[in-house]
């Protein structure tokens, strides 16, 4: 993969997804290059979360094709479990395994999915917890952690699987405002380390600083995309402008 | 935790005390008081116009239930005939055999007719009329059983079923278990005689000990064979049980039974039910 920098890590082509009669994705396409940080914005119901779930096949698209590192993962016969190991995912409401400690949350995938011996899994899990700055919370259960800490454990859990790309589904929107910083910091650090990331978020500050590209989607398709500077200063579409103005206002108003 | 344990202990102590109190009551009853209360028994029954009689309707040809749910059998016809002579209606109540004595004691029923034998032990709790029929017991086994019995003690060491609260249960406990001939865990006390018979037929137990005639009847129905008919396990004859101290009732019933024995009424009813 690293031999040609031009080869995209992810290519999404014209995917459709409906739930019953509700059409959520209506011909969505996107290409992501290695080490890119793509921030996905759009009004609620525009299909952002569904898109992430399509990418790691948690809910496979009805039609259209997706390539991950030049392998078509929507092709029949592909084992979705194997695909997901290469895609890390972080959820809005953390979804930490409630019966396991922070350490256990990171270890379980290593042992059960990557089949690591316990000792090795332990060491790697500790390393990942250190990456998110939570070694001192290793033996705490989820209920004993703050929201921000939970989300950092969730990130460590995803990182433990050694993903080639990370998906973040509104990682800070369930957090109290004062706790978002620690999570965004970890994400920023990941970006610096060269992790490819697709982030659904309305944290405009983060988008401005970290994103290589901002994608505005609405009605299940990409309306407009571009580098943050361009998207925030002079978006082409009126709808993009209106939306970004609204959330910028909310952003500043909230602080 | 400690508090909980203490509470449990308290509860248990209270309950034990309570059961101790109730235990004293029935046995501690003044004989005088009991007979005073019982002296009106016959009058009570006459006044009510009916006598309530308990039975355990699982014992053909003595007592069973027919297709329409009526009580039929020798005992049933007999008690109805007695009721006629008493000049009262007869109401029959079906209950487990082992509850019958207690039910009389507690005054739930006025009398018991259930192929019951007047044993000394039962006589301490209730009174009995003169016997209306002498009986024998029978040992039954499955058709393919190779067991041969010449005397009751030959049952030693074989699994055996009896009905709870019967004299046969008592005999087995006293003569086979207490003497070490049969281990206690080979003796099974059944709620109903017919269930014990079914278990012999199904091969779950080897032997069944019960009254001879019902045993023969059940043996016919469930395909058992009778190994031994004996008098030595049975004591006395079949009597009607009535509350302790109900002397007037006893006198009247004794008189009627003697009359029926003399005039051949009982013989006739016996024959109607195939009893020799």
């Amino acid at each position: 993969m690293s031999s040609t920098a031009i080869a995209p890590i992810l290519r999404i082509e014209n995917i459709h997804k409906s739930f019953g009669k509700t059409r959520v994705l209506t011909g969505f396409s996107l290409t992501v290059q290695p080490q890119e940080v793509v921030v996905l914005v759009g009004p609620s119901g525009s299909g952002k979360s569904t898109l992430l779930r399509c990418i790691n096949l948690l809910s496979p698209p009805d039609s259209g094709r997706i390539w991950l590192e030049e392998q078509e993962i929507t092709a029949p016969g592909v084992n979705p479990d194997k695909v997901r190991q290469r895609i890390g995912m972080v959820f809005q409401d953390f979804n930490l395994f409630n019966h396991l400690t922070a350490l256990g949350n990171v270890m379980i995938g290593l042992m059960k999915v990557r089949k690591m011996p316990k000792k090795e899994a332990h060491d790697l899990a500790m390393f990942e917890l250190e990456r998110v700055g939570l070694v001192d919370r290793a033996y705490h259960y989820p209920a004993q952690l703050s929201g921000g800490q939970k989300q950092r454990v969730a990130i460590a859990r995803a990182l433990g699987m050694d993903p080639h790309i990370m998906l973040f589904d509104e990682p800070t929107s369930a957090l109290d405002p004062e706790l978002t910083g620690e999570v965004l910091e970890v994400m920023q650090q990941l970006a610096r380390e060269g992790m490819t990331m697709i982030v659904v978020s309305h944290e405009m500050g983060f988008a401005r600083q970290v994103a290589s590209r901002v994608v505005f989607m609405e009605g299940g398709v990409v309306v407009e995309e571009g580098p943050p500077a361009q998207m925030f200063e002079q978006p082409l579409h009126e709808r993009t402008r209106a939306f970004l103005r609204k959330i910028s206002d909310m952003d500043s108003g909230g602080r | 935790m400690k508090k909980q344990i203490r509470m449990w202990m308290l509860l248990i102590a209270a309950l034990l005390a309570l059961s101790a109190c109730t235990a004293v009551q029935p046995t501690g009853q003044q004989p005088g008081a009991a007979s005073a209360e019982g002296s009106g028994k016959l009058a009570q029954i006459k006044a009510a116009g009916k006598i309530v009689v308990g039975t355990s309707a699982d014992y053909p040809p003595y007592e069973s239930i027919d297709a329409d749910g009526n009580f039929v059998g020798f005992d049933m016809d007999l008690i109805r005939a007695i009721g006629e002579r008493l000049g009262v209606e007869v109401e029959i109540v079906d209950m487990p055999f082992d509850s019958l004595i207690a039910a009389v004691q507690e005054g739930k029923i006025d009398a018991v007719i259930a192929a019951m034998q007047a044993t000394a032990e039962r006589d301490e709790k209730v009174d009995f009329t003169i016997p209306y029929r002498m009986t024998k017991d029978a040992f039954a086994a499955a058709q393919d059983s190779t067991l041969v019995m010449e005397k009751p003690e030959d049952a030693a060491g074989h699994s055996i079923g009896v009905q709870t609260g019967t004299v046969q249960e008592r005999w087995v406990q006293d003569n086979l278990v207490a003497t070490g001939l049969t281990p206690a865990d080979l003796v099974f006390s059944y709620e109903r005689a017919d269930q014990a018979a079914l278990d012999v037929a199904n091969g779950r137990i080897e032997l069944l000990l019960m009254d001879a005639e019902p045993a023969m009847e059940l043996a016919k129905q469930t395909g058992l064979k009778i190994l031994l008919i004996t008098e030595s396990t049975a004591e006395g004859g079949k009597s009607i049980a009535i509350p302790e101290g109900a002397d007037d009732l006893k006198a009247e019933l004794d008189r009627i039974i003697q009359e029926m024995l003399d005039d051949g009424t009982i013989q006739k009813i016996q024959e109607a039910h195939g009893l020799p």
Binding site: - | L11, A67, G69, M95, P96, E106, L198
Partner: protein, 216 residues
């Protein structure tokens, strides 16, 4: 053909026990309701003495098998009044159910927000009035799902009164099987009849629940 005839005979014979089963269940539930609500009220709103009495009743009765309670009460009741096995058995079953129902209603009383009681007292109601007209109607609705569950349990436990000779479904099944010597047929029919009864009860209770659901 013979099997069919047997089936009809057996079915008809056992069917007569259905009404007895329903009767026992209804009486036991009603008795249990009276005991349960009274004891729950004593437990939640009573003075320490009443609270203790109600707690002991609930704990002891629920720690003892229902069949043991039936045996004890069958003989205890007989000591005081002359009741038929049907009434004695039903009362005993009701006494047992009362303990379980008292737990259900205790939970329901507790689930009614305390503000309700305060508000009722504030408009000048006495404690008993408040319980009667404000707390009880709300608690009853809250208790309905658990109570429905208890109702089906009592329906099933009503087989236990067969030990004191009540001619309900199981007793009749046993009687007919003693005659026809086809226990499998007899008990299967009994089982089927029971299945119909419980499913029917569940349906009725669900309808009630939907009708009287309280938005809280």
């Amino acid at each position: 053909m013979e099997f069919f005839q047997n089936l009809v005979t057996t079915f008809n014979f056992i069917l007569q026990g259905v009404w007895v089963t329903i009767g026992v269940t209804a009486v036991a539930l009603a008795v249990g309701l009276v005991f349960g609500v009274t004891m729950a009220m004593a437990r939640v709103y009573g003075n320490p003495f009443l609270q203790t009495v109600a707690a002991i009743y609930s704990v002891i009765v629920r720690a003892v098998p229902v069949v043991v309670i039936i045996f004890i009460l069958f003989f205890v009741i007989a000591r005081f009044v002359n009741l038929s096995p049907f009434w004695a058995g039903s009362l005993a079953l009701g006494f047992a159910s009362g303990a379980y129902q008292s737990e259900i209603f205790r939970g329901a009383f507790r689930a009614v927000p305390p503000g309700q009681m305060i508000a009722a007292r504030a408009i000048g109601m006495s404690k008993l009035q408040a319980i009667q007209s404000i707390i009880l109607p709300q608690a009853a609705r809250l208790a309905l799902p658990a109570w429905g569950n208890e109702a089906t349990l009592v329906l099933k436990d009503s087989t236990l009164v067969f030990v004191v000779g009540v001619p309900e479904i199981l007793r009749r099944a046993q009687q007919v099987s003693a005659r026809t010597l086809e226990p499998f047929l007899a008990f299967s029919v009994a089982m089927l009849l029971y299945l119909v009864l419980t499913l029917l009860t569940t349906q009725i209770l669900q309808w009630f629940e939907r009708r009287y659901r309280l938005q809280m």
